[in-house]
């Protein structure tokens, strides 16, 4: 085996389209138009003079056309070339491949019904099945903001490694390439195996933002010093993404019947402003409100709702974008809220008085259903003695 293999070998069949220019030439030759021509002698002389040049041009043109089609087919087959000429390693050296699978949330983005994560997993499977040979070993790392090893020690059973790929799951975390590179550099390796790292990712820019440049360079160098790094990108062009931040409430204590403001930030990560974006609020699985939001390009805008909970208890809800953008996971933001029957209020008076008429803390609790502690406290006098309000005493409300 030489150092060349393919991630999508099925496309190698498309090399046959290289014969297309020849076929077109043959078909057109049959259908070629015959033109009676009086000034034939001039054509003949012209042809004699230019025969060599014309033949050369035609051959070059044909070769170029065939070459372009073949190169396109090869590009689709995605060749993987190993650096077998490394002076450090003999040509037949065994390989320890660290396959880094980006499982950050952005990898859930779908194109034509297939997520980037599935594509990455397929590419990893192709590396294990077709690039690596008998006697090679593999480790598998899931790269996100918190990198983890799916297969830490070099595994020589490549079939098992492929099966383990099936256990890889998407995370809800962001990406931190430097942290993952650091993690990979710390993985154990075997003596006599040449290390190769295959980094399969959607190449999100945010993934490079984790560390300051100097430190990130040190981390990457540490990894690449051990062996070549192959960057396999699953991204194609600019990705459109709209996301929602977790909702915030206008107040923490929510009671039945009292309207509460709910606000979720809509982020637009595209280069085009979006207007009239529909955002819906669901409470306990039912749509209860919706609003339209204008979001500037590469910016954010709040989606605001006001909702009165009608009963106490724990309620769940979500704020959802009305538009599907490929990455579904960040199109909804979930929340849970506890709605209380009543609020317990602790009133503390630092200058209590024995005369209720002169003590502002002696007020009556407005709620008939709740309770209130009537407390007269003094300010702390010393650190040694616990403050008196830590021991509230039940009191009888004044009549």
């Amino acid at each position: 085996m030489n150092g060349l293999s393919f991630a999508n070998p099925a496309f190698l069949g498309a090399l046959a389209i290289g014969a297309l220019p020849i076929l077109i030439h043959l078909v057109r030759k049959r259908r070629i138009r015959v033109v009676p021509w009086a000034a034939y002698e001039f054509l003949l002389r012209s042809r004699k003079r230019n025969r060599k040049r014309i033949r050369l041009e035609q051959l070059l043109l044909l070769t170029l056309r065939i070459l372009i089609l073949c190169l396109m087919a090869l590009a689709f087959a995605r060749p993987l070339i190993r650096n077998l000429n490394s002076p450090m390693m003999p040509r037949d050296a065994r390989v320890h491949a660290i396959i880094v699978l980006d499982n950050s949330m952005s990898m859930g983005s779908r194109r034509q019904g297939v997520s980037d994560f599935d594509r990455a997993r397929k590419a990893a499977d192709a590396i294990l099945g077709r690039v690596l040979r008998q006697g090679d070993a593999a480790s598998i790392v899931l790269a996100s903001a918190r990198p983890a090893a799916l297969l830490r020690d070099p595994c020589f059973d490549l079939q098992t490694a492929r099966q383990r790929l099936g256990a890889a799951r998407l995370s809800d975390l962001g990406t931190d390439f430097a942290a993952s590179a650091d993690f990979c550099a710390s993985l154990p390796s075997r003596e006599g195996l040449r290390l190769e790292t295959y980094w399969i990712t959607d190449s999100q820019q945010a993934g490079f933002a984790g560390l300051p440049p100097e430190r990130a360079e040190r981390v990457w160098r540490r990894l690449t010093d051990r062996g070549p790094l192959f960057w396999v990108s699953t991204a194609e062009g600019e990705r459109e993404n709209l996301s929602l931040d977790a909702p915030r409430f206008s107040r923490e204590m929510v009671t039945p019947g009292a309207p509460v403001g709910i606000e979720a930030l809509v982020r637009n990560r595209t280069r085009q402003a979006r207007t009239g974006l529909s955002v819906a609020l669901r409470i306990d699985g039912k749509p209860v409100a919706s609003t339209l939001v204008d979001v500037p390009a590469q910016g954010s805008a709040p989606a605001r709702f006001v909702f009165p909970f009608d009963r106490s208890g724990v309620h769940t809800g979500s704020v959802e974008l009305g538009e599907y953008d490929g990455l579904e996971r960040d199109n909804s933001a979930w929340m849970a809220v506890r709605v209380r029957d009543a609020l317990r209020v602790l009133v503390v008076n630092p200058t209590p008085s024995s005369d209720p008429a002169r003590d502002e803390a002696f007020t009556r609790h407005g709620s008939t259903r709740g309770w209130a502690a009537w407390v007269c406290c003094r300010p702390p006098t010393g650190a040694a003695t616990p403050p008196p309000w830590t021991r509230p005493r039940p009191s009888t409300p004044p009549r």
Binding site: R28, K29, I32, R33, V34, V35, P36, W37, A38, A39, Y40, E41, F42, L43, L44, R45, S46, R47, R49, N50, R53, I54, E57, Q58
Partner: protein, 302 residues
């Protein structure tokens, strides 16, 4: 000769319109009408080429035939007498090679040339000039001696309408043959695409001039032959049994146009050096302009 060419050729004589006219005679008439309508004075006058002797003036002779030089010397009136009291002898030499059958537009080169020939014949006959016809292939075929009678005109038209082209042509040799055949001085009008060796053609024309003939060359050429506008690969089939040539026109165009230009330049130069009128006639040009040119030439030489 005091004929003047038409100031502006008639738009009725365009190849597209003439192609719709069925008979050659009608076509020729349409062309002639277009030319005549532009004349200021009638060209209908005597024209002699061979002086014979003088004779005494008698009342009734035309005053313009009095030889005033002799009167100046002898103080007597003498009238010039010519060997034959006919007008000009004109020979229409029509190229009847297969290459003349090519045509990208409304008319083939042969149809175009035949129409010009018929129109010229009609025009010459109107002036009582005698007209002959020679069909040129690799030799002179169907030579018709000059005459000015109406049946002769009909014969010319019949032959022009029934021209049978020959697969091969040798223009230079044919011109030599024709020059040998024409004994008396006259006007030789050549209607050909001149697709042959330019040097041989020029030598053939030289033979006419050597025999003291006036010569007008109408170079009948198709617009496609001048511009070579083909884009896609085609097989060119030689019209004179030369074979087939598959070619990419884009690759040959520059060289072809250069060769054509060199050929035309050589013909034009050769004609100029021999005081022969060379008139290039693309087959998409109005035909009456050809006759206008002819009449202009007549008026110059008369």
């Amino acid at each position: 000769m005091s004929a003047e060419p038409a100031a502006a050729p008639s738009r009725l004589a365009t190849p597209e319109l003439l192609a719709r006219i069925a008979g050659l005679e009608l076509r020729a008439r349409a062309v002639v009408e277009g030319v005549i309508s532009g004349m200021h004075r009638s060209p209908h006058r005597g024209y002699s080429v061979e002086f014979a002797q003088h004779r005494d003036y008698t009342p009734g002779d035309e005053i313009r035939h009095i030889d005033w030089r002799v009167y100046g010397r002898s103080d007597r009136y003498y009238v010039k007498q010519f060997e034959e009291e006919t007008n000009l002898r004109a020979y229409l030499a029509l190229d009847a090679s297969n290459s003349m059958r090519y045509g990208s537009g409304a008319m083939t080169k042969l149809e175009y040339a035949s129409t010009i020939a018929a129109a010229l014949a009609g025009l010459l006959m109107r002036q009582r000039d005698s007209v002959g016809l020679a069909l040129c292939t690799d030799s002179v075929a169907g030579f018709l001696p000059p005459s000015a009678t109406a049946p002769h005109m009909r014969e010319i038209l019949r032959r022009l309408e029934q021209v049978e082209t020959a697969p091969r042509t040798d223009t230079g040799k044919t011109f030599h043959d024709l020059a040998e055949r024409i004994r008396r001085r006259g006007l030789v009008i050549i209607l050909s695409d001149l697709l042959d060796d330019a040097e041989a053609i020029v030598r053939g024309l030289q033979h006419f001039r050597h025999n003291k003939h006036d010569v007008i060359v109408f170079h009948i050429i198709d617009r496609y032959e001048l511009t070579f506008p083909f884009r896609e690969t085609v097989v060119f089939e030689g019209m004179e049994e030369e074979g087939m040539l598959p070619a990419d026109p884009n690759a040959l165009r520059t060289d072809y146009l250069r060769l054509m230009e060199e050929h035309i330049t050589a013909l034009r130069r050769g004609c100029r050096e021999m005081a022969i009128d060379y008139v290039q006639m693309p087959t998409d040009a109005p035909l009456d302009s050809a006759l206008a040119h002819y009449l202009a030439d007549r008026s110059r030489t008369a």
